[in-house]
């Protein structure tokens, strides 16, 4: 028995001493306590909980199509994570649930009609090339779900484009027509705001209900898993640009509300742009990121060939994130003015 052990043994309370082993004392650098309520896995579970309203709406509206997309994307994401991590010879990371989050987000951003291999390929590309190649969780530059989706969007333009949304047979009649944003863009038809908010329209399976996304998003902000700065600045920027266009075109507010509640805006603002690994670290940086994303969304929506721009806007701003971080190094308290 070492000196230290003997001391610790004799330091035990007398009634505990006989027959007991001395307590195992360890040392470590400070701080010696940490917030047990916060860990990486808990953050990912929060995101899944936040996504649940959108999942429920999608299952109600698209039934089998939604279930198929979610299962395909989640299974493929988990399998991709497993195999790519094994290839890198790293320890097993499935239990942090981050691959599951990527799979669910990817599934929810798919059109219901896409064949199974589209979702599977998007998951493999998203996890493999979007995430693990950069070093796994937290090291990726681009949002993995959006990398996967962008890949299949370009590779299978037919299956992922506006046309793909028009042959789904779901529960509600409205969901078999053109998506609200493409109806507006190509035919000048606008959808009523109430169905857009509730989600009784066509679109990617998880993005149709603005209400469900807001509900889940507010939960994430309440849990501090997502920052409030990013969704707030995206939504305000989009609203401003849409309002200017609205006034210039004399749409009497319909155009503004349509751009706020249709398409992937709410889903993207609360669940995609807020991905911590690919957005800036400081509050100021997050504001810049959100404003930039909002501007790009409207530029793509108004001037490009695509009716929706959330995905590309987020990917472009992801690439800007390291630069934004460098611009927004905070001044420490007491720093003398340079």
């Amino acid at each position: 028995m070492s000196d230290t052990n003997r001391q610790i043994n004799s330091a035990m309370s007398p009634e505990d001493r006989p027959g007991r082993k001395p307590p195992f004392i360890n040392v470590a650098p400070s701080p010696h306590i940490s917030d047990s309520r916060a860990d990486t896995r808990r953050m990912m579970v929060d995101v899944l909980l936040g996504l649940s309203p959108a999942i429920i709406v999608s299952l109600y509206l698209f039934r089998f199509y939604a279930l198929k997309q979610l299962i395909v994307c989640v299974v493929a994401s988990l399998a991709a994570e497993y195999f790519f991590v094994r290839m890198r010879g790293k320890s097993f990371t499935l239990k942090d649930c981050s691959a599951m989050v990527t799979g669910v987000i990817l599934g929810l951003s798919m059109p219901g009609s896409a064949p199974w291999f589209v979702g599977a390929l998007a998951s493999v590309v998203g996890i493999g090339i979007g995430k693990i190649i950069f070093g796994g969780i937290g090291m990726n530059i681009f949002n993995p779900a959006m990398v996967g989706r962008a890949f299949v969007m370009i590779a299978f333009a037919q299956l992922m484009g506006a046309g793909a949304y028009e042959n789904v047979t779901g529960l509600v009649d409205a969901v078999s027509g053109a998506t609200p944003l493409s109806a507006l863009k190509f035919n000048g038809v606008h959808t009523d705001i109430a169905p857009l908010f509730m989600g009784v329209t066509n679109g990617s399976i998880g993005e149709v209900s603005a209400g469900a996304c807001i509900l889940g998003g507010l939960y994430l902000i309440y849990r501090k898993t997502a920052s409030w700065q990013i969704p707030a600045s995206i939504l305000i920027t989009v609203a401003l640009i849409a309002a200017i266009t609205d006034i210039a075109g004399g749409y009497q507010g319909v155009f503004l509300l349509h751009h706020l509640f249709a398409g992937a805006l709410m889903f993207g603002a609360f669940f995609i742009a807020t991905d911590p690994a690919t957005s800036p670290l400081t509050a100021k940086g997050k504001m810049i990121f959100g404003v930039g994303t909002g501007c790009l969304i409207m530029v793509i929506r108004l001037f490009s060939g695509y009716p929706e721009g959330v995905m590309f806007a987020v990917l472009i701003m992801n690439a800007m994130t390291p630069l934004i971080n460098r611009w927004t190094i905070p001044q420490p308290m007491g720093q003398r003015e340079a």
Binding site: A11, D16, D39, M43, G138, T282, I329, P330, M333, G334
Partner: protein, 455 residues
């Protein structure tokens, strides 16, 4: 933040960022201070303060009386050492303090007639401490007496107090701030002193205020200590001393955050509180100053908290400096079987150690014993860049960047992100969901930066 304003002070009563760890003060907050018996021996390391070690002035075999100087602080930034008990000087020993320093120490074996420690504690609790009639004491008299008494900051850093209060023509002190925040979880020794002996604190503050010619004297307490606030408000009645009630948040007791909260000024990086016209000192230090000047006794005893779920009977105790920590633990009923980590100080900034033969020093504010459940840590994952450390950092830094710069040995990035501004308060590591050991990595980063600049 901006909406809140501290009544009567320019500050807001708080500071940006920070965290709210469970304080666990209930374990020992209501335990009145107990006095320990005189130990058989005391061990006095020659360096218990920040600065140059003091020089031993007694020889082995010599007999010393209570309060006799045994080590002299000859350099300016140094502090003298006094015998807390009467006895005989034994052969010097080497001790390893919880902070890892290996030091030469004077050992004194109790011998002859002793002053009962109860009487010393009664002296502190004495209620008739003078409030005026200090005109006989010149500023330099007070400073000299503080220096002779070996008084250092008793909040933990143990910076020699006479250096802080030395009048200086270039840095005028407007405000003396007496720090009673005690924001570290578990620790309650300052709280007990404020509740049981507020008068001695007020007298010490008046004397120290006189030494630095402060226009204002403020005792700062967090709002989770209503009893202490009440007692201090009673004790400061009809004096110029004010009581500032601050919002409870970690690390409110940190010098820079305290000055920000009350005076609203930032202490410049690499500067001292004096640069903002402020002197900051702990409540126990104030008690030591009052005792030294009014009663002519040096710093020989202090109040220590022994707490945590790993200790059988958490207590606040009045102990002679130099008593071994093993005796202190024994006095509190010993360790529980699930004790896992013994910490000198509190759990946020204290040092973990295992050698219980180390003595209580001037800077020992407490002993916290945590259990396996308290210190259990989840596995470390990659940084997910969630930015929670950024929101927690009271110095407005980006801890994750600093830590990763250190991990990849990149001092340039660390310097760019102001690594030297870090006060190592531990807020970032407390909130980190990836369970990264941010503070330790930042410490390494500072060392790397120093080495890189020396190249």
């Amino acid at each position: 933040m901006g909406l809140f304003k501290l009544k009567g002070f320019p500050g807001t009563g708080s500071f940006p960022h920070g965290i709210h760890p469970p304080d666990n003060k209930a374990l020992s907050a209501n335990m009145a201070v107990e006095v320990m018996e005189i130990p058989r021996t005391v061990t006095l390391p020659l360096l218990q303060h920040l600065g140059v070690p003091c020089k031993q002035i007694v020889k082995s075999g010599e007999t010393v009386g209570y309060g006799q100087m045994v080590g002299k602080g000859e350099a300016f930034v140094s502090a003298s050492l006094h015998a807390p008990i009467a006895g005989k000087v034994k052969r010097n020993t080497m001790v390893t303090l919880p902070n890892g320093r290996h030091l030469d120490a004077i050992t004194i074996q109790a011998e002859g007639e002793q002053i009962p420690p109860e009487r010393i504690w009664e002296d502190v609790k004495f209620t008739q401490w003078p409030r005026d009639g200090f005109s006989d004491y010149g500023s330099m008299d007070i400073v000299k007496k503080i220096q002779e008494s070996g008084i250092v900051g008793l909040g933990g850093a143990a910076f020699p107090t006479h250096v802080k209060v030395m009048p200086n023509d270039t840095r005028v002190i407007d405000t003396l701030m007496v720090n009673g925040c005690e924001c570290e979880p578990y620790l309650t020794c300052d709280y007990r002193l404020m509740v049981e002996a507020p008068e001695v604190i007020v007298t010490g503050a008046l004397l120290t205020g006189r030494a630095v010619s402060a226009k204002e004297i403020v005792i700062c307490v967090e709002d989770n200590k209503p009893e202490a606030i009440k007692r201090l408000q009673q004790a400061t009645r009809q004096t110029v001393v004010q009581v500032a009630v601050l919002k409870t948040k970690y690390p409110q007791g940190s010098e820079k955050q305290l000055v920000k909260a009350v005076v609203g000024l930032n202490i410049p990086l690499g500067g001292l509180p004096a640069d903002a016209g402020v002197a900051v000192s702990n409540v126990q230090t104030m008690a030591a100053v009052a005792r030294s000047i009014i009663k002519d006794v040096p710093l020989t005893h202090r109040v220590v908290t022994v707490s945590g779920q790993g200790i059988c009977n958490p207590k606040n105790i009045f102990v002679p400096i130099g008593i071994s920590l093993a005796e202190v633990v024994d006095f509190c009923g010993g360790l529980t079987p699930n004790a896992a980590r013994i910490i000198s100080g509190g759990p946020m900034m204290g040092f973990a150690f295992s050698n219980l033969s180390a003595p209580v020093t001037k800077g020992t504010s407490g002993l916290t014993v945590l259990t396996h459940d308290d210190v259990r840590k989840a596995d470390e994952t990659n940084c997910v860049r969630c930015g929670r450390c950024v929101d927690a950092c009271p110095m407005n830094l980006v801890p994750t960047r600093l830590a990763l710069a250190a991990r990849y040995n990149n001092p340039e990035i660390a310097a760019q992100y102001h690594i030297r501004a870090c006060v190592e308060c531990g807020s970032c590591a407390y909130v980190c969901p990836a369970k990264l050991n941010l503070v330790q990595l930042i410490r390494e980063g500072k060392a790397q930066l120093n080495a890189w600049e020396r190249r």
